[in-house]
């Protein structure tokens, strides 16, 4: 039997509770600060505006392109290369007096006057109203997902588990957002999808540990609650690391082979998975302890029924 994690003894995770809580509190505060101070670099999906991606047959002459675009009279155009010197990204903010629908045609026509070999790769134009709506519905989705999961946990487990699980997972979400804010990586609709997926994924993690805690509470009659939690985490450690490993392999594969379009999405997931493993073990469980989980919460007559589920 090949074992990467041969934990024979129960690891005293809960006795490190103070240290881990302090660490997560620090990272959490850092993330809040980054969000507060720098804010998210919202993509065109949310802010509205135009992003045009073009590719040229040889290294792009940015000053020439800039000059040609200035002649169109469109304000605040940013021109930059990304990836290679042949890929050029042109951004325009939304301006009320400009006919946005024609902007991309005008830009493309202007660029083609200096370099006819230009090939259009992608245009994203989003009106300000649409962007705002997406932003609102994104925030709403985040809330609904959070409450839906909490409700499920409260029904399947107990309210303490629901609150602890949710706090641990919001901690992950805030940290992803904080890292995106700190590095000013572009936050797009796809990244939002990634963040929401992390919310589901990370709860998944907590549920596995919670499940074991519930089982241990019923089984280990003499043990103290911290010991029960330690045992649950230790027993699931191997699985936690392997599952995270395999998910991370897929995500890294996306990060390396998925191309520009999936890059930030994969980044969000990478951070989410890294913090997901940590929070499910070292944030959710101490919180559970803090909320005062007792054996009596699970040793009830109704308990027999639940076992029948098996």
């Amino acid at each position: 039997m090949l074992e990467l994690f041969p934990f024979k003894k129960t690891i005293p995770f809960m006795s490190w509770g103070k240290a881990t809580t302090a660490i997560s509190l620090l990272t959490f505060l850092f993330a809040i600060w980054a969000l507060w101070d720098k804010g998210l670099n919202l993509g065109v999906d949310f802010t509205g505006g135009t992003v045009i991606e073009i590719t040229t047959s040889h290294a792009a002459n940015l000053p020439e392109i800039r000059g040609a675009l200035e002649k169109t009279g469109l304000p605040e155009i940013s021109v930059q290369t990304f990836g290679t010197s042949r890929d050029v990204l042109i951004r325009l903010p939304n301006k009320a007096h400009i006919n946005a629908a024609e902007t991309s045609n005008r830009v493309l026509a202007a660029v083609r006057t200096v370099d006819p070999s230009v090939e259009l790769r992608r245009v994203d134009f989003v009106g300000p109203q649409v962007g705002k709506e997406l932003y609102d519905s994104g925030a709403l989705a985040l809330l609904v997902v959070a409450f839906g999961i909490m409700a499920y946990l409260a029904i399947r487990f107990e309210w303490r588990f629901a609150v602890a699980g949710m706090l641990a997972n919001l901690h992950d979400i805030v940290i992803i957002l904080g890292v995106f804010a700190f590095f000013q990586w572009e936050f797009t609709l796809t990244v939002l999808a990634g963040v929401l997926a992390v919310l589901g994924y990370s709860v998944n993690e907590s549920v596995v540990v919670f499940d074991r805690i519930r089982e241990n509470i019923r089984k280990m009659r003499g043990a103290t609650i911290p010991h029960i939690i330690d045992d649950a985490i230790t027993r699931t450690m191997s699985r936690t690391i392997i599952t995270h490993g395999s998910t991370q392999i897929m995500v890294l594969s996306m990060l390396f082979f998925g191309g520009e379009a999936l890059h930030n999405f994969a980044l969000a997931l990478t951070i989410g998975i890294m913090f997901g493993i940590y929070s499910s073990v070292l944030v959710a469980s101490p919180l559970l302890l803090m909320f005062g989980v007792k054996r009596e919460h699970f040793i009830k007559p109704v308990e027999k029924k639940e076992e029948a589920v098996v």
């Binding site: 134009f125 649409v130 989705a141 796809t190 998944n204 392997i242 395999s246 392999i249």
Partner: protein, 604 residues
């Protein structure tokens, strides 16, 4: 202990065969094809048309590898893109204007698969290239337009009943009629309220007159808006058909938006031009009494307005509209038989033809202007002198500069008018090369990730790891088969979701395998360990997957665009992984170990 009844194996076998069959079309790739569909969506395609298409291709001696009816269109497959393009021209010329002939790609999978309705996944625009537009209907303008119509109707009603009024004006969405006496106002209120039941009327007494204000009732207002949206969708559909795009998507989104997706469209400027045009046509009489000098200065006589003429200069036209574009049933570009000038031939419907006949009879010798109103600006295309009564509803307009212009005008007239102006609020264009690159990269990231997970699982859990890997591959098949069956649109985020669900799907097997190991460590016999492992893990698998499913459903419910594409795959992936990781892997384990009552050792 670890045995399945026969029906379970059979059930799993059947689902595997079905999944394999429906996954298969995705591996055949695509062949060039030409798609023929009617311009008017109300028309249906039948076998007679199929025969015509086959006959046309035969006479042109273009070899086809199959002509078939698919939905409301006919698709003909060809061996190469050269033949495809030739065939497109032949079919367009042979079938005429009533049909849209578009280049397309269809699945190369054999016919027997297609008859099973096994079709490849539908690729989103980000994977195949094309344009996505989100258009917003200006509802304020729709309501104002309705008010203008009521303004005219009031005038006719009141004149018909000989009720005197001093002025009818429009204030926003409301129509205000001013009267000199209260009796006139009350008489008018009774009359109008009886005729126009959709309107609510309010009377007001002022020092210098009596007012009657009419407003659409809320439910009628809603109806006007819905109607405007529906008419705009119809108009857009007609315009898109003229572009000759294969498989366009035109859908309502929310209360006032329309999504238009044009796969494979390269010339976005042309597409935007056609979609965004808000042209309407009006026929009005030229005001013959107007002083030409004042007209040149832009001063309109009472009851008339000044418009620019395409023939040069300005003309005064009466405000009363004789006919609108709504009465036009067909319009085709052509040439005037006498002058050989570019012209548009128009057919009018019955009511339009009658009005046109009356007006031309009463106004012989006078000029009639045909106005094209685009983006709120009216322009007289032509203002010919009426030589004789024109009956039968066949009208010819000349005055176009080029044949191209005549064809554009004809297109606009034929496609009909928009009930209210629309604005593009979102545009996403993906170049074809980028689409192909997205597919390739997305596919590679899935393959490499999958292989890495399989390698790890097999080394770590040996035989059980192999079972888990096979279950994971089968999960991939299930997921792709399900997506193909539902004909869900696969987008780049969708491909990301496939990768993510494959990564997460292994979790169930890890949970099971770890449990089995734990049972073995605690001294259980191998058979008991396998049994307990699957049983104990199931509760955890259910809990953890359901929470993720909750997230997926909320994403689908609230998300839009890429988020939704992601959510669909995530939800389906969770369902398939629960089945494949638990049931399919258990079947493999049972088949291998279940028959050995004294199993000494398992490879895990």
């Amino acid at each position: 202990m670890n045995r399945y009844p026969l029906w379970k194996y059979l059930l799993i076998g059947v689902t595997l065969v079905v999944a394999f069959l429906y996954t298969l079309p995705n591996f055949f790739g695509e062949v060039p094809a030409v798609q023929v569909s009617p311009v008017r969506t109300s028309e249906t395609v039948d076998t007679a048309l199929l025969g015509r298409v086959e006959a046309l291709l035969k006479t042109a001696s273009l070899p086809t590898s199959g002509v078939e009816l698919a939905g409301n269109s006919i698709k003909a497959r060809f061996a190469s893109t050269d033949v495809q393009i030739k065939a497109k021209d032949v079919l367009q010329n042979g079938l005429g204007e009533r049909y849209t002939v578009a280049l397309n790609l269809v699945s190369a999978s054999p016919a027997w698969l297609s008859t099973l309705n096994a079709l490849p996944m539908y690729l989103g625009l980000d994977l195949r290239g094309g344009v996505h537009f989100l258009l917003e209907v200006d509802m304020k303008a729709a309501l104002e337009k309705a008010a203008v119509r009521y303004q005219n109707d009031f005038r006719t009603e009141l004149r018909g009943d000989k009720i005197r009024y001093s002025r009818i004006s429009r204030e926003g969405n409301a129509v205000v009629v001013r009267f000199a006496t209260r009796d006139q106002r009350d008489a008018a209120a009774d009359k109008l309220a009886a005729v126009f039941t959709d309107l609510g009327f309010a009377a007001e007494d002022l020092d210098d007159g009596f007012l009657l204000t009419a407003r659409l009732k809320p439910e009628a207002e809603k109806q006007v808006q819905e109607f405007a949206l529906q008419q705009n969708i119809t108009t857009l559909r007609n315009r898109v058909n003229e572009l000759g795009v294969a498989e366009p998507v035109i859908q309502q989104q929310g209360a006032n938006r329309v999504v238009v997706q044009l796969p494979g469209v390269q010339d976005t400027a042309k597409a935007k031009d056609i979609l965004g045009r808000t042209a309407t046509l009006e026929v009005r009489m030229v005001d013959e009494q107007a002083d030409p000098l004042l007209v040149e200065q832009g001063q309109a006589p009472f009851g008339a307005e000044i418009v620019a003429s395409r023939e040069g200069g300005k003309i005064a036209v009466k405000k009363d509209v004789v006919l609108t574009g709504d009465s036009i049933t067909d319009a085709a570009p052509g040439f005037d038989s006498t002058s050989a000038q570019a012209a548009v031939h128009i057919n009018l419907d019955g009511k339009g033809a009658r009005i046109f006949k009356d007006v031309t009879r009463e106004n012989v010798g006078k000029r009639m202007a045909i106005l094209l109103i685009e983006k709120g600006i009216a322009e007289a295309i032509t203002a010919p002198v009426i030589r004789e009564e024109i009956g039968g509803g066949r009208v010819q307009i000349t005055g176009m500069e080029t044949a191209q212009e005549a064809s554009d005008v004809a297109l606009l007239l034929r496609a009909g008018a928009l009930a209210a102006p629309m604005q593009i609020v979102e545009e996403r264009t993906v170049g074809p090369s980028m689409g192909a690159e997205n597919i390739e990269k997305g596919f590679h990231s899935n393959i490499w990730g999958f292989l890495a997970v399989v390698a790890f699982m097999t080394i770590y859990y040996r035989v059980f790891g192999l079972f888990s890997s096979v279950a994971l591959a089968i999960n991939g098949f299930f997921l792709i088969a399900l997506l193909s069956m539902l004909q869900a649109t696969l987008t780049l985020p969708g491909m990301a979701a496939i990768a993510l669900t494959l990564g997460m799907a292994i979790d169930a097997n890890v949970l099971i395998n770890e449990r089995i190991r734990e049972e073995l460590r605690n001294g259980a016999t191998p058979q008991a360990a396998i049994h307990a492992g699957y049983d104990r893990a199931w509760g955890t698998i259910l809990d953890s997957n359901l929470t993720t499913l909750i997230a997926g459903i909320a994403l689908f419910w609230l998300g839009s665009g890429p988020v939704r594409g992601f959510a669909v795959v995530l939800c389906l992936g969770i369902l398939t992984s629960m089945f494949s990781a638990v049931t399919v892997s258990r079947a493999m384990v049972n088949l291998t170990y279940g028959r050995q009552p004294r199993l000494a050792k398992v490879s895990i």
